[in-house]
């Protein structure tokens, strides 16, 4: 594996006086896909929001550091953070449709995001986007560009969300349950696209999910969280095939498995 580009060091996050995540450490290397699993409320989202600086007014990283390329991204100015967000660390939301402004076209918003990080003309932005759409096997890129979020299906929105996050070509991508708002049939496409991304650009990805099937399909490493604490962390095969922690075992045994003879 290549060099490490993101490291969480004994991170503790609190909302108000309540500690929600405590003493979590892990690191992410270039091109690595990390699966973040755990039950609802275990602090998965909190963990990635901490790096993005999106904890809101009452949330705060109370202990530890988050290092992006050796730079502690918790103690930098808002302006510097803004430079990192989007350009260095992209993010895909659970419901990408909702993370887009409902009354502006996808194109406008793509252009706006790109403008936030470099000088670029609208047509350049559009060309870039079209290129990427093509790489991501988007059928009708032009239509997407001119559409409002509500005119697209959930799956298309989600893919548009991925595209926007990818356009700046960030070395790191956070994906917070990128598929759970989607139909089972679309899920697969989205996952494939994310894998495709890594192939194309060598992007490192942290994917938050509670679907162990997804983790199995794409993650290199897995971090299991329970009540804001790390219960298991290691190579995906190792954790999934030979879980050490009782909780991980329970989690794995609870996953219903489809029985079928022929694998397609």
């Amino acid at each position: 594996m290549c060099e490490e580009i993101l490291r969480y060091d004994s991170v503790e996050v609190s909302f108000g006086e309540k500690v929600v995540v405590s003493d979590v450490s892990f690191s992410l290397r270039q091109g690595e896909i990390l699966g973040l699993v755990g039950e609802s409320g275990s602090g998965k989202s909190t963990l990635i929001k901490a790096a993005m600086g999106l904890l809101g007014t009452n949330g705060m990283v109370t202990k530890g550091d988050i290092l992006y390329k050796e730079q502690n991204i918790l103690d930098i100015s808002e302006k510097e953070k803004r430079r990192i967000r989007g350009a260095q660390i992209g993010m895909i939301f659970q419901d990408a449709g909702a993370s887009l402004c409902p009354i502006r076209t996808i194109g406008e918003q793509i252009y706006e995001s790109m403008r936030a990080h470099r000088k670029i003309s609208k047509s350049e932005a559009k060309n870039h986007a079209m290129e990427l759409f093509e790489k991501l096997h988007f059928k009708d890129g032009k239509r997407v560009w001119d559409s409002y979020p509500f005119e697209l299906s959930g799956g298309m929105n989600q893919r548009a969300g991925i595209a926007i996050a990818m356009l700046m070509n960030p070395p790191i991508l956070f994906a917070d349950e990128p598929t759970s708002a989607l139909d089972v049939t679309v899920q697969r496409q989205v996952i494939n696209e994310m894998l495709h991304l890594r192939e194309l650009f060598g992007t490192s990805i942290i994917i938050v999910t509670h679907d162990l099937g997804v983790v199995k399909a794409m993650a290199d490493t897995v971090l299991v969280l329970k009540d804001g604490k790390k219960v298991e962390y290691g190579k995906a095969e190792a954790v999934l095939n030979d879980p050490q922690d009782a909780y991980t075992q329970k989690l794995l045994s609870a996953v219903p498995v489809l029985r079928r003879s022929v694998n397609t």
């Binding site: 989607l182 139909d183 089972v184 099937g213 989690l251 219903p256 029985r259």
Partner: protein, 253 residues
Amino acid sequence: MSIILEAEHLTKIFRKKGSAPLKAVDDISFQLKAGETLGIVGESGSGKSTLAKLLTRLTDPTSGTLKYEGKDITMLKGNGLRELYGNMQMVFQDPVSSFDPRRTLGDGIGESLRNRGMKKEEIQKRVEEVLEQAGLDPRFAARYPHEVSGGQCQRAAIARALAVEPKILICDEATSALDVTIQKQIMELLQELKEQHGLSFIFICHNLALVQMFCDRVLVLYEGRIVESGTPDEIIQSPGEVYTKKLIESVFE
């Protein structure tokens, strides 16, 4: 086995000003036998919830008939409907929002009993009974929905459905809002109920694995129509429709 619930050509069309009418449920016919578990799968928007609401008479069908034990209940109103609900109950997807936030779980569970004119002490006894049946401590009766976890709340919802000793239980994605570990517990509870009480189930779900595990028969819904039906194994092993194939292929393992 006798047919307990029968749908004939059920159709529900939503008309909205300014857009084409939407056939959310399109000419659906099926039969549910006593003690049978019928799974319904399909992607989001395929009309599963609308079908569930039609079956429970929470919405009126645009056309078609619905029969319970051979009796036409399509147009049932008032007391007749209330009687029907003594035999047919439903468990909803989101457990917490299926309880009135301002009332205790016990209150919600006892509501149907109170409406049937049962006395206070009896109600209390029955509530405790069904809570235990659903695997909850009777003290949960005094809690508010936001004071319990999702899994506990769903158990209470099941207890509520069981309170009137229904013959049919309709579950509309009763586990998809829950974590896998809790989902497993709930599925075990349903399995137990099925075995011990001989309930008939309509189990709406988009998780094929769960359906395979739990159901006797499956209907695959697509754009409001039944595109395929059969035993879970038949459908999963050799899907006949393109759509069903796609559905199965998308499952990660």
